[in-house]
Amino acid sequence: MKRRKVIKRLGIIIGGLGLSYSGIKFYNLYKHPYFQNLEDHKDLIGALAETIIPTTDSPGAGETGTDEFIIKMIRDCTERKAQNNFISGLDNLSDYVQNHYKKTFQQCSLSERKAILTHFEMADQPNKGIFGKAERKFMGDPFFITLKKYTVIGYCTSKIGATQALAYDYIPGKYIASVPLTPNQKAWATR
């Protein structure tokens, strides 16, 4: 709480010097998030999730309601800065795709989608070490990190993800401490 106050105060001081770049940046981090943007970009979120976890021998994230889960998580389980980073990240990504490919992400081919995600993964790569940690604390989790995190959680805890891509054992009934791995062994869905 204290830290947030300090940052806010810092923002006001900078703001007082005229709306500097940093001032705008602080405002964008702390403003009330524009949640409608999530609903507007629901198809995009679904397509991004499917690109991160595609359909293979098991369904991909696009088929598991992960888009809805991501939206719910951003709304109800994410701190303010990461919320704003995510919401503006959707706009940035849409603009980037429009500028470079003259179409929407959903209209892009698989290889185009991969190139786009590679670009954003690189851009949002956290800096290593203490500086990276501090930066992430100060600026909030970046867009791509949040997207990937909620895609993975949403998929792996969905009925399809847990029971088809992973191995879900509802009531094991026993504990066997050591068993040999079988070919193509799926990881347990829960622990």
């Binding site: 595609p54 009925k159 879900y168 009531i171 504990y175 401490a177 050591s178 990881a187």
Partner: protein, 574 residues
């Protein structure tokens, strides 16, 4: 808090409200008191401030799948807003949050940071406890006396050993006998197995470090059917309540036995306000409660009172129970009530990866890990100069899954999915639990101004860990890293999160036992020095904290005190 205006006595209602014994609190020790007293033929009233939780029927989340939860068991902003303290337990989630209090409804004052984790319902925190069960030894019972810390325990291991046996035989604790003097063996159900990496770790550590033992955790999870309960189904969803009765709770074990005697009356929504005192007999008369729902006041009477409201609340109830004889709280002539608050210090240790055993996996979710009993200051050879007492480690090895890989698996697409859904490399964590010394200054008091919605004073908690704990933590961290390194692990990450007191949910010491009524509140039978018909057997009675998980000791002390009570009643001494 006695009301001098209450002179209109309705004798009929006194009759109706009179029992042989009253037990305040239905958690792990209160449940035992109810069971023992009822089995010995005493008509017993069990007061619980929260709602009733009926075993199995009220475990509404027990059979839910991850996808059945709105936030898939992640902590929501609402949780953070409404329950900023309870979420610090690390146990609280969508599956069990109905077994934790709402922090907004149940405020308290943190003079210094202290996480007061609570469960206001029948069974209390026995529904969500960690289930690890370890005996204390004479190393623990003699320590205060030898080192002139606090006061001497008025009991020794020989006094409690038969009662450990007694409760273990009812509870059902799986574990492995090791023959260690500092961690006595008990009556064990078959131990759970260690996985390949844990076995390897054990083998190397026991070879390289003479005083160290790596054993499987001793846990109140049933590895075979026991007293019509269990066995454990290895779902590792214990804290939602177990529909298979696979682990010990008041709800699953002690309360049903007490009910079966037909001697038990359970009164939920009963907030104990005070234990009333009778000047003439110099005994407690009964318990005054507020009905949590109607806010009406009632008084119940009994020959015997067991106070098992949990360490902080038990002290608060005593402090609220003022009279001309006890202006500073019932049985508080020593001035020790509320003081000497302890909690284990933890969340320090190390994590590492293991290269190898890539062809090995496991089936089932073991609700238990390994345990490394205390190996510091147990004899002359292990004496430390930087701290007194010691710590134990809990830990486990597992293959990484999607939840571990989340943060460091780069990329996306088919390869990413393949890695995410395959068993990852092995990792292992060692997490230390350390003894905290009793400091008079670590205390709970009652607020003079602020009250809760029932008009009762808010509890103020002032607590901090000190030099001995801090020096110990360094060793807790370093030794974990050292062991992982010498056992051939890689990528070793030592950690120390410095959580505030209370986070471990092992509060103890506010109503300590001791020989001398001038410096302690309870005698060797957990009987108040000052008020002979009041017994206190929850964590508040602890004279020192040791480093073992404490619930088993509360259970044993409760059964022992109940036995004493009934013998004294027979002799007409109470």
């Amino acid at each position: 808090m006695g009301d001098p205006n209450q002179t209109h006595i309705n004798t009929k209602s006194i009759d109706q409200n009179t029992y042989d014994a009253i037990v305040i609190g239905s958690g792990i020790s209160g449940g035992w008191a109810a069971k023992e007293l009822c089995e010995k033929g005493l008509k017993t009233l069990l007061l619980e401030r929260g709602r009733n939780v009926e075993h199995i029927k009220d475990y509404q989340t027990a059979f839910l799948n991850p996808w059945d939860f709105e936030y898939r068991l992640q902590i929501s902003d609402r949780d953070k807003e409404e329950n900023p303290v309870q979420i610090q337990s690390g146990v609280y989630n969508e599956g069990n949050r109905h077994f934790f209090v709402n922090d907004k409804e149940h405020p308290y004052i943190q003079t210094s940071p202290f996480n007061w984790i609570r469960g206001y319902q029948l069974g209390g925190r026995s529904l969500v406890w960690g289930r690890q069960c370890y005996r204390l030894s004479d190393l623990d019972f003699e320590a205060n006396s030898k080192e002139s810390i606090g006061v001497d325990w008025p009991i020794r291991y020989a006094d409690i050993a038969p009662w450990y046996d007694y409760v273990e035989k009812f509870v059902g604790i799986s574990g492995q006998a090791e023959g260690l003097p500092q961690l006595p063996d008990g009556f064990f159900l078959p131990p759970m197995d260690m996985n390949s990496v844990e076995k390897k770790f054990k083998e190397i550590i026991q070879k390289k470090f003479k005083e160290r033992c790596v054993t499987i955790g001793r846990t109140a999870n049933l590895t075979q059917g026991w007293n019509n309960r269990g066995p454990c189904q290895f779902r590792n969803l214990c804290t939602r309540g177990c529909p298979f009765s696979g682990y010990f709770s008041s709800n699953a074990a002690t309360i049903p036995v007490a009910i079966a005697t037909k001697n038990l009356t359970i009164r939920p929504f009963s907030i104990a306000v005070e234990i009333t005192y009778d000047q003439n007999s110099q005994k407690a008369k009964g318990v005054r409660i507020i009905d949590a729902e109607t806010k009406k006041t009632y008084e119940y009477y009994s020959r015997i009172i067991f106070l098992n409201a949990s360490t902080v609340a038990t002290a608060a109830i005593l402090l609220q129970s003022t009279s001309s004889r006890f202006p500073y709280g019932l049985g508080n002539s020593s001035g020790q009530v509320g003081h000497n608050l302890m909690d284990h210090h933890f969340r320090v240790g190390a994590e590492a990866k293991y290269e190898g055993f890539n062809d090995q996996y496991y089936i089932g979710r073991r609700p238990n890990g390994i345990y490394i009993p205390r190996f510091r200051n147990i004899n002359a050879a292990t004496k430390r100069n930087d701290f007194i007492r010691g710590f134990g480690y809990q830990g486990n090895a597992q293959r990484e899954d999607w939840s571990d890989q989340l943060s460091d698996l780069s990329g996306f697409g088919e390869d990413f999915k393949k890695k995410l859904t395959s068993p990852g490399p092995w990792n292992m964590g060692l997490f230390a639990w350390g003894e905290t010394l009793p400091y008079f200054e670590n205390k709970i008091t009652l607020s003079k101004n602020e009250k809760d919605k029932w008009g009762l004073p808010l509890v103020e908690i002032d607590f901090s860990f000190r030099d001995n704990e801090n020096a110990m933590r360094k060793d807790m961290k370093d030794s974990a890293a050292e062991m992982l390194e010498s056992a051939g692990f890689t990528d070793i990450t030592p950690f120390d999160y410095h959580p505030p007191g209370g986070t471990c949910v092992h509060e103890m010491g506010t109503v300590r036992m001791g020989h001398d009524p001038k410096t302690s509140v309870l005698n060797k039978w957990n009987q108040m020095h000052d008020v002979k018909n009041v017994f206190i057997t929850d964590g508040s009675c602890m004279t020192s904290s040791a480093c073992q998980n404490p619930s088993l000791t509360y259970m044993a002390l409760t059964a022992r005190a109940c036995d004493y009570v009934v013998n004294e009643l027979k002799k007409n001494n109470l």
